[in-house]
């Protein structure tokens, strides 16, 4: 019998729209210069190689132009001089909620994080502005040798592992925003799962922006050693400010032979946040990396999770849901780089545009000539709710050589007035009918999220749909 579950997580737009006045102990000030970077390196106690890495990132950031030749001109509205690049109370994450500063603890309690941790998570990291305020894993998981700490602690406590993979999947000069992140990164997670260890419950990170005119630049590195399995989930919120906030993360995944990593994002930033994120995974032989990416919030999101299939038989997958409401632009997609024989990739993307919302799909699939037995499947479906809504699709597929197969399907549809009439005739209000139809459109993808998230997703979609018709 199928029964719906009551929403267990109370997170929605309005629930995240609050903030606390903070007196930050560490503040790099406004604007970005080499001095800003030195300040960050000093307070974090970076080793020399990290300081050099940051400086190099900074140089590349200055060199690279805004990608407005292909991306939206809205990027020009980011004023880098007005942003604060580092705000923290301290660099050490607490292992117990009791030791987390009161305002931060209260913030995460209002967002329901400690409750979720008790219910179904193997570990939680909670980042408040620039640093993790809390980071802990269940004892049983820790005993298996799983490392789950903030990136600052990861660098200090596990320098060899960290240095081996850090910046290797996404070089600092990959794009202007990965360069910026490389210069000022702080926070994010460092995860290592030893060979053969399968982490049963998800590890979760929660990113919270509290300060105005702030940029959050977390850096996450996840390494699943041979045959290991791990699921990581991230959520985020920020209060709605008058001015723009920048969130620019870099996430690198490394799946060794036969390992599996599943990375789940539910992005619900407030509508003043520029969310410009670079995410890529490196899959070795027979490894599998799956990005499940849901973008509901932000003013502009640009994010194209990728998988480099470096070993034979590796698999990459991106499942993506984007909802672009009034004034929002969700520019999302996927990159699949086939670099070995018999590698397979799958991209499924569904976007919904409503009101003046705009969704863009950009997909890149690359199979070089010398490879054999590679397969890609791409499906991208867009749903338009109103006549002002907009959707664009830019697939770039380069497949060379013999014996490689690609399949690409795209569709754009609208909810018809006859469908709405039919549902209204059964008693549903116009808005309820819209919500139901939209939830139906993404239903098959929502099923792939863990239950707690799928319930939240449905609620978020309902909230977005409210007042979108009339």
């Amino acid at each position: 019998m199928s029964t719906e579950t009551k929403p267990q997580i109370d997170i929605d737009r309005s629930a995240g729209d609050f903030r606390y006045e903070m007196d930050y102990a560490y503040d790099a000030g406004v604007g970005l210069t080499e001095a800003t970077i030195d300040y960050i390196s000093d307070v974090k106690g970076d080793p020399d190689w990290v300081r050099a890495f940051r400086k190099e990132g900074y140089r590349k950031f200055l060199e690279k132009p805004m990608p407005t030749n292909w991306a939206t001109k809205d990027l020009d509205n980011i004023v880098f001089e007005n942003i604060r690049y580092y705000l923290a109370q301290g660099q050490q994450a607490s292992r117990s909620w009791d030791d987390v500063p009161a305002e931060m603890k209260e913030t995460f309690e209002r967002l329901g994080i400690p409750e979720q941790e008790r219910k179904f998570l193997a570990g939680v990291e909670a980042q408040f502005d620039s640093e993790a305020a809390y980071s802990n894993i269940k004892a049983a998981v820790g005993e298996q040798g799983v490392i789950f700490v903030g990136s600052t602690d990861g660098l200090k406590e596990h320098p060899e592992l960290f240095k081996k993979w850090f910046g290797k999947v996404i070089p600092s000069g990959d794009n202007k925003f990965s360069a910026l992140n490389s210069a000022v990164f702080s926070g994010g997670s460092f995860i290592y799962v030893p060979p053969g260890v399968k982490v049963k419950h998800p590890l979760q990170a929660y990113f919270r922006i509290n300060a105005q005119n702030f940029g959050q630049f977390e850096r996450t590195l996840i390494i699943a050693d041979e045959g290991a399995e791990v699921t990581y989930m991230e959520g985020c919120t920020a209060p709605k400010f008058e001015t723009a906030t920048l969130h620019s993360a870099v996430v690198e995944l490394v799946a060794m032979k036969g390992a599996k990593i599943q990375y789940i994002t539910v992005q619900n930033w407030s509508s003043n946040v520029f969310n410009l994120v670079t995410k890529r995974g490196l899959a070795h032989e027979d490894a599998e990396i799956k990005w499940i990416d849901c973008n509901i919030g932000s003013r502009l999101t640009m994010k194209y999770p990728g998988v480099v299939m470096k070993g034979k038989g590796a698999r990459g997958e991106v499942v993506s849901i984007a909802l672009a409401g009034d004034g929002q632009h969700q520019d999302t997609g996927a990159k699949m780089i086939h670099a070995a024989d018999n590698t397979t990739s799958n991209i499924i993307s569904k976007s919904i545009s409503l009101g003046t919302g705009r969704s863009t799909y950009r997909g890149m699939v690359h199979v070089p000539k010398h490879l054999k037995g590679c397969k890609n499947n791409t499906e991208c479906d867009a749903l338009l709710i109103n006549s002002h809504s907009r959707t664009d699709t830019y697939p770039a597929i380069s497949v060379r050589g013999q014996g490689n197969a690609v399949q690409h399907e795209a569709s754009v549809s609208q909810i018809s007035s006859e469908q709405i009439f039919y549902m209204q005739q059964r008693g549903l209000s116009e808005a309820a009918a819209m919500s139901l139809a939209v939830n139906g459109f993404v239903n098959d993808l929502v099923q792939q999220f863990p239950m707690e998230y799928s319930v939240e997703l449905k609620r978020l979609i309902d909230l977005e749909m409210e007042g979108s018709v009339g």
């Binding site: 469908q419 209204q424 005739q425």
Partner: protein
Amino acid sequence: MPVPSLSILDLHASIGDKPILKGLTLEIPKGEVHAIMGKNGSGKSTLAKIMAGHPDYTVTSGDVLLDGESILGMEPDVRARLGLFLAFQYPMEIPGVTIANFIRAALQSRLPEGEDIDAIDYYENLYKKMDLLSMSRSFTSRSVNEGFSGGEKKRCEILQMAMLQPSYAVLDETDSGLDIDALKIVSAGVNSLRGPNIGMLVITHYQRLLDYIVPDKVHVMSEGRIILSGEKDLALKLEAEGYDWVEKEYQAA
């Protein structure tokens, strides 16, 4: 206190500039089953949509009363929650929304805010009604009307009617696209819902359906009006002699 009824009073309606209903009057008392017959293009299906509040049509004069209350000017969902049900000739597909969730949402819409349907009672009731219509349990997890055969779509309409328990139901060409076995099942389902608490208006082109759903009254519609009303044997006469004689004889009147 008059007998509760669904009454249509001198209704005129148009789509754009084109008049479709031209003074249609009809009363369906609760507890009775009436049939409207007529040629294609006589406005039968349009009448059903106008009663349900389809936004494409404009009512220019006249009224539709549900138990004495005018429903014109109400949104389609308000009319539905008041007790008006339309079984569609061409039910719409709603991809990704299961039948179980759809009917549940429809029932939920009738409850006051903060009240929830009891899931166990709901499924018990749903399965009972499905058995009545010889529907397999697996039906509940299929998306509404998506990939359904003609017969499945019509059965699904009657299932929704059985679950929502309307006080008045309009069945628009429910027999179209049905083979004889499906027709029997659907008719048996409709007949099981007949009773003192529901009035039904069965719209059909063919007498065949009325062999299985025997009406209390039969009305003939032509060019946007009811031109003749009679007992159930009128349907047989129409079947035998066609519509032309009625139109010739009564159109002018």
